[in-house]
Assembly symmetry: C2
Homo-oligomer: 626 residues x 2
């Protein structure tokens, strides 16, 4: 059906294929409808139906297209490294030097390292209820369901740091009353959340994701970065408390040097040293190399081994961490508590509504030359199902992985590096050469997602769990630092702060930010910073479960209040819709129309300039300065 | 006399002043002489006489010119930070991206931090004979003598890591026989070395320094960088042995983070963020800020203080570290041993011949718009005197500080940062802006050198020694890493290796290295690497005192063997005379003439291209990539 070897032109829409025509970009919309038909709430299941009909014709090709090396490389990379590459980039739709289409936070991950990393935290803070086994099981379940039944198999699903925060905050609250209620209370939270998910999917409410702009998604990215840095420090503090100062200091060293190793490898991967393919290996497998090295290092006999730093705790394979059956006895929860769980379920749905849909949007970001359609309503319905199952089995609930999902697409994309020669006015031989990365095609298939699920199930078996047990916990503090710092460093808030503080004479004259009043830039990042600060602050308290509300409140702030404080031209430079891919908007009921919206092409000036100047920026932990 | 506020044109020789005329660049030469007069050995003291006559007229202005802010800033910076800025740069006369005129190693330092850093090492490895007091006294003595009597007061003099290596290697040798002989043996080594120094100065042998090229001076820089890295690791290993694993690991953390702090601060100082003056402060005082912070950190009560890491050991002020009088009883040494000391004295002279003169050359490198003349013969005579005094008082012998001396000049230089606008062929608004650093003037005076000496004497008094005692030894491991890594990173060997491994399509077409056969570049850096490897290897054995011989052997290798293996055009790109400043050559008997030498302006192509493209590169620890 779709031919992945063809090089679609990124700037124009890919040519429509015969089967696609019937349910094309224009078929799901409410714009030209009249009477009751224009109200999406009144037409239940319309979005889900269109999602499935639109994607169905591609199902067979999703399997046959997978027989390429890319799929294998992608599976290995996603299984193992997940966290590394993702982070740094899928960020800066509006940054000065990067150019992703859709900004977006970067964080939570699934797949080996990350899944384990925040699971450690969740394990300790939920009275050891959620362990590594649960996390792997949950990830594997989600991978199976979404790879086989999902409309958009590129959106990979797993456990995030935010669900960890959510789960242990509930634990803190419940333990004020009766900690034995926690398992069945979590089950009911999952059941309620599932019901809300289904309602959102049925009543086509995912359409509102169109209105998400970089204003809120970049703030979310910054928030997540800060949370990760905090988690890394907490991990190290825990090591001191647990094993004393020697183990604690050694853990700090391992975490710092692990961070430095990955950072350096990825920096080398972005340079122009060695051949393209070798750099690709360095960057793709930075996590693998660094992990192997530092795990080995921590086991060198003598002083290092004697420091006795703590390792990943594991439980018997295929069994819950706690001595319990898989199915939680949720029917034993007192009725009062069943209803107490309702608002928690709603908040969980709110979190997933934002987190999952944004991850799906970034997996289909504009820089990827995608040819197959996605579907938000159907996938959100499926997410309700996995939430339900995870709830009653006592697993952490999986959802779309914000920094991961775009990395998955990235790992399936064929890139070429070209030389851009800029001739200067100074005469011959003085031209400037720059590497420009271009994406030629994406291997769109559902096999890699499926294989990752299989690999995770494999990890749950005994021998591999033993391998996992050799890894020092300090490594995961390092993972947190890489993820957190990558997210902070590449955030557009940082880039704009750097712009504001730079000596203006060194700023290139075609920098779009120069068209914006400096005061307006300060106000824009100030509003973002206020949002981030409030969310981080709330995360440290018992009110942490309310943080999805704060993030979602940024959306109406942007659409309703901010047009009064900024001119349209300024907002066009500073902000952009997070979702701009036409294939994606097809499932969301068409392009959004904000009050200040003029014509679509005026948005994202900064991103387009950067893309033209530097080419695509792959998802790596890069340096602030390009 | 000379007017420091005028901005001399860097590319042309400064206009000669009236008094200068008589003893100008051409007055000391042997080129047009006939008969016995053309042999420099037969005309004793001629060089010294010319040196003094040439400089004498400027003596008064050396004091009056000093009344500027630059002098104060320079004194503080040189007293405190010495090591930071120096290192990374004064290197890359031939590197792709830097542009110092005179390459040159970077290392040893004097002034607070560095002097203390290698003193720790020397203290432990000479049976605690040479302590901090001796090091400070020696540095202060040298500063007094050279600031008042020296011809070129910009060449600052102090204790280097190499004299430390020299001293403890002799200790190792002597302790095979009778360790009690060590003090008087060192005294005789100093006496013999002093005699050889005077001979060299009297017979005008410093003239041969003209033939030093980047081939050997860059190798020396790499050697020193590696030695420093090794020293840093040794310092940390010592901490483990001394205070156990907890203190050891904490020391590693402090060393790593101290390194990272200085590296980051200097990276920021090189960026275009904030205003010029603020960046200048960041980079100038990177060592001060980082030292204050990490000393404070190591004293935070609780776990950090409890780790009990070791601090700088100090002795009673104004008293030798050992219970002895200041004057060593060198007359008690058996006569046999007096003559055993002779070859050691010769080797010491050889080391200083290379090390001191290269430091003097770099302090007067071409990128500094100097107007006052220097003098090698007289200063080497003075160095003999300080060696004599240090020898009989049992102090480590001071000499010119290779990475330090150019930093001193740099700290006295007034720089301006200009914008270079490169218009591209792509139309209006697409020009590229680059910061270009230019040197406008140097405050040439002898007051800063003098004040540094006073400050060092001040440090020997009780209260300040107590302050010194609060500094953890781990900080000095960090200093070693900063110095060592800076020296390695900015070395032209590394830059050329990167060039050789880079994908050639991304290399700018006007890169001079493209004119050289790749095989020739490999051979050139291969020869350098062999020299470095041999010298590093010998440094780890008792034969370490022979290392000056190896370094000096690189000079005839370059002048006699290498022209057979390389074409003239290739050598012109790859190599350059380390000494090219006309003011400097005036004291060395005029420009050198190698067999393959054609006309002077063809040399240093790489440097000149880089200078034109990026401007001057100040002496900072920078990143590999600009």
């Amino acid at each position: 059906m779709s031919n992945p070897t063809a090089a679609p032109n990124r700037t124009t829409e890919p040519p429509e294929l015969p089967l696609e025509r019937e349910f094309s970009a224009k078929s799901y919309t409410y714009e030209n409808e009249r009477g009751w038909r224009q109200y999406r709430m009144l037409r239940p299941c319309r979005g889900m139906y269109h999602d499935v009909r639109r994607r169905m014709p591609y199902y067979w090709s999703d399997i046959t297209d997978a027989f390429t090396y890319r799929t294998i490389a992608s599976t290995i990379r996603m299984y193992f490294v997940k966290s590394a590459n993702p982070l740094p980039t899928h960020i800066s739709s509006s940054s000065t030097h990067h150019l992703e289409d859709h900004s977006c936070m970067l964080i939570p991950q699934r797949s080996l390292l990350p899944a384990v990393a925040y699971t450690l935290d969740m394990y300790r803070r939920t009275g050891e209820f959620f362990g590594v086994t649960e996390a792997l099981f949950s990830s594997a379940l989600a991978a199976m369901v979404f790879s086989i039944l999902g409309v958009q198999p590129l959106t990979i699903v797993g456990i995030t740091g935010l669900i960890s925060l959510f789960n242990y905050t509930i634990y803190d609250i419940i333990s004020l009353y009766d900690v034995s209620l926690y398992p069945s209370f979590m089950a009911w939270t999952g059941i309620w959340a599932a019901i809300f998910h289904w309602a959102v999917a049925v009543f086509n409410l995912c359409d509102y994701m169109r209105y998400v702009t970089d204003f809120s998604s970049e703030s979310f990215g910054m928030y997540v970065g800060i949370i990760y840095m905090i988690k890394g420090v907490e991990e190290l503090v825990y090591e001191f408390d647990q094993n004393g100062p020697t183990a604690g200091y050694l853990s700090c060293i391992i975490a710092i040097l692990y961070f430095a190793s990955i950072y350096s490898l990825e920096w080398l991967g972005q340079s122009t040293v060695w051949q393209h393919w070798f750099r690709g290996i360095l960057a793709d497998y930075a996590y693998v190399f660094a992990t192997l090295f530092w795990v080995g290092f921590s086991h060198i006999p003598g002083r290092l081994k004697d420091a006795n730093i703590s390792k990943v705790p594991i439980m018997e394979a295929f069994h819950p961490t706690q001595p319990r059956g898989w199915l939680l006895e949720f029917w034993t929860l007192p009725v009062t508590w069943v209803f107490v769980a309702l608002p928690f379920g709603f908040l969980l749905m709110l979190l997933f509504y934002y987190d999952h849909n944004v991850s799906s949007i970034t997996a289909q970001a504009r820089q990827f030359p995608l040819r197959k359609p996605g579907g938000f309503h159907w996938d959100f319905f499926l997410l309700g199902c996995t939430t339900f199952v995870a709830g009653i089995l006592g697993l952490p609930m999986p959802n779309g992985l914000v920094p991961q999902a775009p990395v998955h697409t990235d790992s399936l994309t064929q890139y070429t590096t070209e030389v851009k020669i800029i001739s200067t006015a100074e005469g011959e031989g003085t031209e400037i050469r720059r590497p420009i990365v271009k994406a030629t095609a994406v291997v769109e298939q559902r096999v890699s997602h499926f294989l990752m699920g299989l690999a995770l199930i494999g990890t749950m078996t005994g021998p591999l769990l033993t391998v996992l047990h050799t890894m020092p916990s300090a490594l995961f503090a390092g993972v947190f630092f890489v993820i957190g710092w990558g997210s902070i460093e590449s955030n557009s808030m940082v880039h704009r702060l750097v712009f504001l503080m730079s000596e203006s004479r060194f700023v290139q004259r075609d920098e779009p930010l120069l068209r914006v009043r400096r005061r307006a830039i300060w106000l824009f990042i100030g509003l973002q910073a206020a949002g981030v600060a409030a969310t981080v602050a709330i995360s440290q308290t018992m009110a942490a479960i309310g943080f999805p509300v704060l993030i979602i409140l940024l959306i109406p702030l942007r659409t309703h209040a901010m047009p009064r404080w900024f001119t349209l031209a300024e907002l066009e430079v500073l902000d952009d819709f997070t979702c701009t891919n036409k294939q994606v908007l097809a499932s969301l009921g068409g392009a959004p129309a904000l009050p200040e919206h003029s014509k679509e092409t005026d948005w994202g000036l900064e991103r387009r300039r950067s893309e033209q100047r530097f080419g695509l920026h792959r998802q790596r932990a890069g340096s602030l300065k390009r």
